[in-house]
């Protein structure tokens, strides 16, 4: 019983403790470091599995520690939390394998993996956060833990990118803090509640609530890379590839999007938010970001930058799904949290492989690369097609539900956004795919390394193949009872119960 209650804490600790130990490991203790990393990742995944099982069977997992007078540090494993926890635990495991391969022989690995683990700790914490204060705590921890990863290379460029990242995220954190305290002075509680806890508030406070909502969206939008706050993301590409994967798919950007979901559903309540009239502006902002990101992606020659702008665009699908207001759109938005993560992590793995193996950093250098690295490019192609939304891949599922949801909610204009975005996605992904498979390859690659029989080192190859398989598999099996889609349906049914 007691152990079961503390499961959420253990999920957080399963990366915190190994991370803390790793900081003190010597650079040369590679085996110990790998063991700690893998043990932490596997334990976290196992714990997440246990809790999933438990929740399905009606158990509740929550734990409180006193923090401020009247407000606890509160972790609770609800269905929405578990969606994010499971996603981040799975992707962390794969990213860790990838990072071990990627960073082989590079300096400061203990520091790197220490902060890497802290990042995932923060992600798990904010996923499980049961109130806004706890969310805020882990949100800030995430900011702090990612900073050393972004500046990891220690170049002047990295320092400036890190500085830019902080200007955005610390600013966002400050807005979030302000919004949280302000809300607390109005309500006296900060606990996430299905269908929100604000609708009972006196109408006098409604203008304040709108301002607070704007503060929340601005504070969270920074991490979610919503339109005016996205500037840090493409710059942060100076970080090593596993960090990019982490930022885009597992932790940072997702944390922002997840926060928006939390605020809209469990603080304001979707119906109350719609009554306040704040959802439509959010939908418009999200749509603008979707189109803007795609257009910018079109003109990037640097592969990672193109992927970064693609993230700006894709993550806003989540916010869009939330803001359209309706059970079906909600399903589309939430399931995209998972689908985008899997797809994008694959793309970054592949980009890292190209850079590590052949020294390819630019789209224009990718002609015929599929013949040299068929596995990598197969994974890349599947994910890219998923991003475009080709059935039966995962991206199609997301877009289908988003579109249906928009029609259902009577917001037909969203269809045009989706269609336009898909066209743009195709426009910036298909040329890459085409060039990689069908254009003749150059005689030499920019900077080739040999890995024997395999096209690249196996820890670099395995993770993208698995995630690409997931992209295909979760799309095909979308209606099976263990798919993310089914889980999201379960969550949505809670939010929209009559």
């Amino acid at each position: 019983m007691n152990l079961a209650q503390s499961l959420p804490l253990l999920v957080v600790a399963s990366s915190l403790v190994p991370g803390a130990i790793i900081f003190f490991l010597d650079e040369k203790q590679t085996v110990a470091r790998i063991f700690l990393n893998m043990a932490g990742a596997l334990i976290k995944l196992a714990l997440a599995g246990v809790m999933l099982w438990g929740i399905v069977h009606g158990y509740h997992y929550e734990i409180r520690l006193p923090l401020l007078p009247g407000i606890d540090l509160f972790l609770r494993a609800g269905p929405l939390a578990m969606l994010f926890v499971t996603l981040s635990a799975t992707l962390w495991l794969l990213t860790t394998i990838y990072a071990i391969g990627y960073l082989e022989d590079s300096p400061h690995r203990s520091r790197f993996f220490g902060f890497f683990s802290l990042c995932v700790t923060a992600t798990a914490g904010l996923a499980l956060a049961g109130n806004l204060l706890t969310f805020l705590l882990f949100y800030e921890l995430l900011t702090l833990a990612t900073y050393p990863l972004i500046v990891h290379r220690g170049t002047e460029e990295a320092r400036l990118a890190g500085r830019n990242y902080l200007i955005y995220t610390i600013g966002g954190g400050a807005l979030l803090l302000l919004a949280t305290v302000w809300l607390y002075t109005l309500t006296g509680t900060l606990e996430f509640t299905a269908r929100g806890f604000l609708s009972g508030l006196d109408a006098v406070h409604h203008p304040a609530l709108i301002v607070i909502f704007v503060l929340f969206i601005a504070g969270l939008g920074v991490k979610a890379a919503l339109l005016p706050f996205h500037g840090w993301l493409p710059q942060a590409m100076v970080a090593p590839a596993p960090v990019s994967a982490l930022l885009h798919a597992v932790a940072v950007v997702k944390a922002g999007a997840f926060g928006i979901v939390r605020v809209v559903y469990d603080v304001y309540g979707i119906e109350f938010a719609a009554d306040l009239g704040v959802t439509l502006p959010l939908a418009i902002l999200a749509s603008a970001t979707i189109i803007y990101g795609s257009v910018r992606a079109l003109f990037q020659d640097d592969l990672k930058r193109r992927l970064a702008f693609s993230t700006v665009s894709q993550v806003s699908y989540i916010a869009l799904g939330v803001a359209v207001v309706g059970p079906i759109a909600t399903i589309g938005g939430l399931v995209h949290l998972v689908h985008q993560g899997i797809q994008k992590v694959t793309l970054f793995f592949c980009a890292g492989n190209l850079a590590e193996t052949l020294g390819i950093h630019k789209v224009s250098e990718m002609n015929g690369v599929a013949r040299r690295m068929p596995w990598t490019m197969t994974a890349f192609t599947i994910s890219a097609l998923g991003m475009i939304g080709l059935p039966p891949l995962t991206g199609f599922i997301s877009k289908w539900y988003l579109g249906m949801g928009a029609l259902d909610a009577g917001q037909n204009w969203v269809i045009f956004i989706l269609a336009g975005s898909s066209l743009l996605n195709a426009a910036y992904f298909l040329p890459i795919v085409y060039a990689a498979w069908f254009k003749p390859s150059p005689s030499t690659w920019p900077h080739e390394r040999s890995f024997g029989a395999l096209e690249t080192a196996w820890p670099l190859l395995l993770p993208p193949i698995i995630t690409a398989a997931l992209t295909l598999g979760l799309g095909l099996l979308a209606s099976s009872p263990i798919s993310p889609l089914e889980w999201v349906r379960f969550i949505a049914s809670r939010e929209f119960a009559p």
């Binding site: 290379r153 610390i170 305290v181």
Partner: protein, 486 residues
């Protein structure tokens, strides 16, 4: 047995232990390190004893010489004094451990007795219930602090020490003239008696003005902070830690006592006005200190300006005035003490290692002194007020009060101050993470010095988790009972 231990006047021991320790260190310089460390441990035990006594029996009053106020001098310990004493004991122990590695030879011989006398002055000050006795403790504190600053040697340190001494004496004289007027007006120098007797009169108002001015000068509230950055930056690292963590807080503590117990009944209207004025100056300090810190090229000066800014926060509670806001300030006192001590120690380690503290040339510190950088960064988290640090708890409480009372401009100052803090702290961290071109190792930092800094930084972070218990202890004797609820 328990009763016997409870009966011990721990408060008196807290004053006597460092005094005796200081005397012993002066007499036997060769043993001063061990004596100093022993003394630091004993003081920690005594603070524990006093805390236990307070938790069991509530606030304590102790009549020295058995006379009792108003004829004699009383010691008074409540939750607020306990907070300050605990702060001094923790920082004092850490500084002692750090200094045992930092100072050697002739410097150590001078450092230990001065430091222990300074500690005695602090403890005596935090326990005194008598405004003239407070004057004596202030002078003892000031002279010891000046001597410790000058211990660094060199033109900058001597210059800073000289200015510090003049400012300190000036502040004390203002305070003393105020005491003179109060005594002749109301026939006592005991705070509790004065709290009952005082009433609005020209003498009372003059005294309020004089004493506040003197104490504000000593506690370096903007724009009277001009002396602080040089003094705190040019002192030896452990002394900088002491000054920023403890010494500037002492006059603030007196101000707080006077404000909460004597001055509040001297008439509501000027009190309100003065409160708003102090809040404004505090806000200016937060912004000015932050901007100046950002502009510094030397690490220790940056940290010193950060102290100017952080002291500004303390004054935001004056216009807010509720007991929640005061709690925030109390917590800020403690968390700032721990965090700032950690920062100055970290800076000391960097100075020790690199031989300079130019911020742009800190490249590679992350690799060579990872513990020190960790200490600096973690302490920075508390200074910025990010969760779950003690600084966060303080900031939260102040923000909450500001928003609740509709005085949103103080909330804006709190947020802006946090952003400025983040900016100057990450400026340092950013440079520390850059790769060094050529490794230029000069000296090895003793492990003790790195670990002490790390421990302090961790303590500042973990402080956030003890807020509820801490507020219970601070609430003993209701130090903010004179404050209106709204």
């Amino acid at each position: 047995m328990t009763g016997d231990l409870l009966g011990i006047p721990w408060a008196v021991l807290l004053i006597l232990l460092p005094l005796i320790g200081g005397l012993a260190c002066f007499l036997l310089p060769s043993l001063s390190k061990s004596l100093g460390l022993l003394c630091a441990l004993a003081i920690l035990v005594a603070v524990g004893g006093l805390g236990w006594q307070l938790a069991e029996n509530g606030a304590q009053r102790y009549a020295i010489g058995g006379w009792g106020a108003p004829l004699g001098i009383d010691l008074y310990a409540d939750g607020l004094s306990l907070l300050m004493l605990v702060m001094a004991a923790l920082v004092g122990l850490g500084v002692s451990v750090y200094s045992s590695a930092y100072f050697n030879g002739d410097k150590a011989r001078h450092f230990w007795p001065l430091w222990l006398f300074l500690w005695a002055a602090l403890n005596a000050l935090f326990l005194s219930a008598d405004i003239f006795n407070l004057y004596v403790t202030l002078e003892l504190l000031g002279l010891a602090a000046v001597a410790l600053v000058a211990l660094a040697g060199g033109a900058d340190a001597l210059n800073a020490a000289m200015r510090y001494l003049l400012v300190s004496l000036l502040g004390s004289l203002f305070y003393l003239l105020g005491v003179a007027l109060i005594y002749h007006g109301f026939g006592s120098v005991d705070i509790a008696i004065l709290a009952q007797r005082i009433e609005p009169s020209p003498a009372a108002w003059s005294a309020v003005g004089l004493m506040s001015a003197g104490l504000l000068l000593k506690t370096a509230l903007f724009p009277m902070h001009f002396w602080l950055p040089a003094a705190h930056a040019s002192a030896p690292a452990p002394v900088s830690a002491l000054l920023s963590a403890l010494v500037v807080k002492a006059p603030f503590y007196i101000l707080l006592r006077l404000w909460l117990e004597i001055f509040s009944p001297t008439g509501a209207a000027p009190g309100q006005l003065l409160g708003q004025l102090l809040g404004l100056l505090g806000a200016a300090a937060v912004l000015w200190g932050g901007i100046q810190a950002l502009r510094q090229t030397r690490l220790k000066l940056l940290i010193a300006y950060s102290t100017v800014a952080q002291l500004g926060y303390l004054f935001l509670a004056f216009p807010l005035g509720t007991s929640i806001a005061w709690k925030g300030v109390f917590y800020l006192l403690l968390s700032h003490a721990l965090a700032k001590a950690a920062m100055f120690m970290a800076a000391g380690n960097i100075l020790y290692f690199c031989g300079h503290d130019r911020i742009t040339d800190l490249d590679g510190v992350a690799q060579r002194l990872p513990l020190t950088l960790a200490a600096f960064s973690l302490a920075g988290v508390s200074i910025m007020g990010l969760p779950p640090s003690g600084g966060f708890v303080a900031k939260w409480l102040l923000l909450e009060t500001a928003l609740r009372s509709g005085q949103w401009w103080w909330a804006a100052i709190l947020i802006l101050g946090g952003l400025l803090a983040a900016a100057y702290i990450f400026q340092v961290i950013g440079h520390a993470f850059t790769q060094a071109d050529a490794p230029a190792e000069t000296g090895l930092v003793p492990a003790r010095m790195e670990w002490t800094a790390v421990m302090f930084a961790f303590a500042a972070i973990l402080l956030g988790f003890f807020a509820t218990d801490a507020f219970e202890l601070i609430g003993i004797g209701a130090p903010t009972s004179g404050v209106s609820g709204g």
